[in-house]
């Protein structure tokens, strides 16, 4: 149990302020605050595999302020995504700020607009299964403005950008706890861009939670961008529950922050679902980035693919962990899990530990992890064609990243990834 008393006191103060007026969310907040107070936050220690490499002291040891800015001028924030054919909502410091949805197929309810009913609130946290939930509980105890989104279209694709924005003018950190539940109804198709950003000089901890229920025969294309600023703490819990024949492709593009942890779990609740999880992460300076990617294969005949790649520079530290769990009933599961890393600096560290637990015969499953720097013989080959060391290394590093970027079907996003990732990747300093 993390025993930082100042932090616990701070979060209890926020909770008390939030819950002083009775609302449909009061009970849920209360229940989760009690859990946090009882069990605390995960501890970084040997034997605690889930948190072996990430230390939440980086978050709890900071000084926090309770006064959140009500600034809503977004002019100074880079990387907010707007695209012509997408609807957009902006969540600022956990609060839904603008809701100008024209598409009738996208219905949004939230606490602050009083459109959320007590029945709706039962959906929140319904995808949790009782394991590794401390961060989700913290989110729930402190959630400012839980948002419920329903997608219901038959013959078209609904497209939504959710900008999760953080702004703080104080010299102490603030905590924001955006909370979303998205239900994609049967036979619907949904493209979601989830974009985490912050004002450049703001100090903040963003602890967001997103649950997505992908109903029968429906399809989700999910793009996640972690663009929070250098000094920020980013925690995110994402649960995607797949019903019969559901299809999800998730592409996560992450840049490091002071501390970030992406806790993703796919739950195959019914037969014949397909999930493909691609990720590209890039860390530099003293950043710490933790990908905790899990698949819970419950139902039979489901396919899952995990393909993550990391580029590490300077003194940064990245982690790839998580489990593919194939439960007793999940016959004919087909699962592959891979994490590859390019370590550009001798002081950078990668801990890649994909794991696989299988409790049934008659499945296909594999996993692997690699870490290495740029191969000398490969560079020699390129040099022998006239390419300089610098250009050769640049081409190889961007080539490494392209394998994930190539999976992005949306042309606008693809182009912006080229601009924002590939053209900004470092070159490599060779010591041979």
């Amino acid at each position: 149990m993390n025993t930082n008393k100042d932090f616990l006191k701070h979060i209890n103060n926020i909770y008390t302020t939030l819950n002083q007026n009775e609302s449909v969310i009061s009970q849920l907040r209360e229940k989760n605050m009690n859990s946090v107070n009882k069990y605390g936050l995960p501890t970084h220690r040997k034997g605690n595999e889930e948190w072996k490499y990430s230390n939440l002291n980086r978050m709890t040891d900071l000084n926090y302020s309770e006064n959140k800015s009500t600034e809503t001028n977004l002019k100074n924030i880079n990387n907010i995504i707007n695209m012509d054919d997408f609807e957009v909502i902006n969540i600022i410091n956990g609060q839904l700020f603008e809701n100008k949805i024209n598409n009738q197929n996208i219905k949004i309810k939230n606490l602050s607009s009083t459109t959320l009913t007590i029945n709706d609130t039962n959906k929140f946290n319904s995808t949790l299964d009782g394991e590794n939930e401390e961060i989700a509980q913290l989110n729930t105890a402190l959630c400012e403005d839980p948002i419920l989104i329903e997608i219901d279209n038959k013959n078209s694709v609904s497209k939504l950008i959710v900008n999760i924005i953080n702004i703080n003018i104080s010299n102490d950190y603030i905590i924001n706890s955006p909370k979303l539940f998205i239900e994609i109804h049967e036979d619907a198709e949904f493209e979601l861009i989830e974009n985490h950003v912050g004002e450049k000089s703001s100090l903040y901890t963003s602890n967001s939670m997103i649950e997505i229920l992908v109903n029968k025969n429906s399809k989700l294309s999910h793009y996640r961008f972690l663009e929070d600023n250098d000094e920020s703490i980013h925690l995110n819990t994402t649960r995607i529950k797949l019903m019969e024949n559901a299809h999800v492709e998730s592409n996560a593009f992450s840049k490091g922050t002071k501390l970030s942890r992406y806790d993703l779990k796919i739950i195959t609740a019914s037969e014949n679902s397909y999930s493909e999880l691609n990720g590209l992460y890039f860390t530099s300076k003293k950043q710490h980035l933790d990908n905790y990617i899990n698949i819970d294969h419950i139902a039979p005949h489901c396919t899952s693919r995990i393909n993550y790649k990391g580029i590490l520079n300077d003194e940064s530290h990245a982690i790839f962990g998580g489990t593919v769990l194939v439960r007793e009933g999940a016959i004919k599961t087909d699962s592959l899990q891979s994490d590859k890393n390019l370590v550009l600096s001798p002081k950078a560290e990668i801990d890649s530990k994909p794991s696989l637990y299988i409790f049934v015969d008659d499945i296909l499953a594999g996993h692997g992890a690699t870490a290495g720097n740029i191969d000398e013989n490969t560079v020699y080959y390129m040099q022998s064609r006239g390419l300089s060391l610098e250009l050769a290394s640049k081409m190889l590093i961007s080539g490494f990243a392209m394998e994930i970027i190539d999976k992005v079907q949306n042309q606008t996003l693809f182009d912006s990834l080229l601009e924002n990732y590939v053209n900004k990747l470092p070159s490599y300093t060779f010591d041979f």
Binding site: E376, M382, R385, G386, L387, G399, A401
Partner: protein, 251 residues
């Protein structure tokens, strides 16, 4: 003015403290085709790599003068830019690097070094299509990553495509013929043959005589234990085919 492209004088080279090349001398003039043959471990591939500047090899002593310049300490990319080309025995896969991008960047780098403007996309495409067709590389391959998932034969054809595009002064071919079936061998040989002119030179390193049915060398050298032990014309290759190498070591 001397017509020689490359002159190797008393070359000693090693890899990880093991001496491989022991006092080798060789001169290649413009327009000549030379073949180096020899048993496994005789130092043929080492010679090819030392010439191209492979950082895994160390030149202990001796001189390599290429186009009038001493290659000592010269980076492999500069060697390529001044006109040296090595077709690899084992071409390397470049994950995520597209063929088109790789070939265009290579040619641009060479042209820039030599004070020429880069080709426009259209000019380059025309050139690329012409050569790709000659070596039987389809448009499909141009969109793929360099050598990734290519068969052994496709990789070797790709080396010949690069040779044609970069149009070097000296082409060193390191066992380009090994692992090829008869059809691929023909394509590769024709590629080398059509590159070869009286303005450039070829140094072909090979195990087998069979490629010499397609490419007529002016000189055949036999390398054993790090040195050239005998040289001759094409008939020497035929003699080797018949007798093997043993008779030379006991000579």
């Amino acid at each position: 003015m001397s017509k020689n492209i490359i002159e190797i004088k008393n070359l000693h080279a090693s890899v990880e403290d093991t001496k491989i090349i022991k006092g080798l001398n060789l001169k290649i003039n413009v327009g000549e085709k030379h073949t180096i043959m020899g048993p496994n471990g005789s130092g043929k591939s080492t010679l090819a790599n030392v010439l191209a500047g492979n950082p895994s090899y160390t030149v202990d002593s001796g001189e390599i003068i290429f186009m009038g310049q001493d290659l000592d300490e010269m980076e492999p990319d500069i060697r390529a830019c001044i006109g040296l080309f090595l077709a690899f025995q084992y071409p390397v896969e470049l994950p995520g690097v597209r063929m088109w991008q790789f070939l265009k960047s290579s040619l641009d780098a060479k042209r820039e070094y030599n004070g020429q403007e880069p080709l426009s996309t259209r000019e380059f495409d025309n050139l690329l299509n012409e050569y790709a067709e000659k070596v039987g590389i389809s448009q499909d391959f141009i969109k793929r990553n360099v050598n990734e998932g290519f068969s052994g034969g496709e990789k070797k054809r790709n080396e010949i495509l690069q040779l044609s595009l970069l149009n070097p002064k000296l082409a060193i071919l390191d066992e380009t013929d090994s692992g090829l079936d008869i059809d691929a061998l023909k394509v590769v040989s024709q590629g080398i043959d059509s590159f070869s002119s009286n303005e450039n030179s070829v140094l072909l390193v090979t195990h087998y005589q069979r490629i010499l049915n397609y490419i007529q060398p002016d000189f055949v050298h036999v390398m054993m234990d790090g040195n050239i032990v005998t040289s001759g014309d094409k008939s020497l290759a035929l003699e080797l085919e018949e007798k093997g190498y043993d008779w030379l070591s006991t000579k």
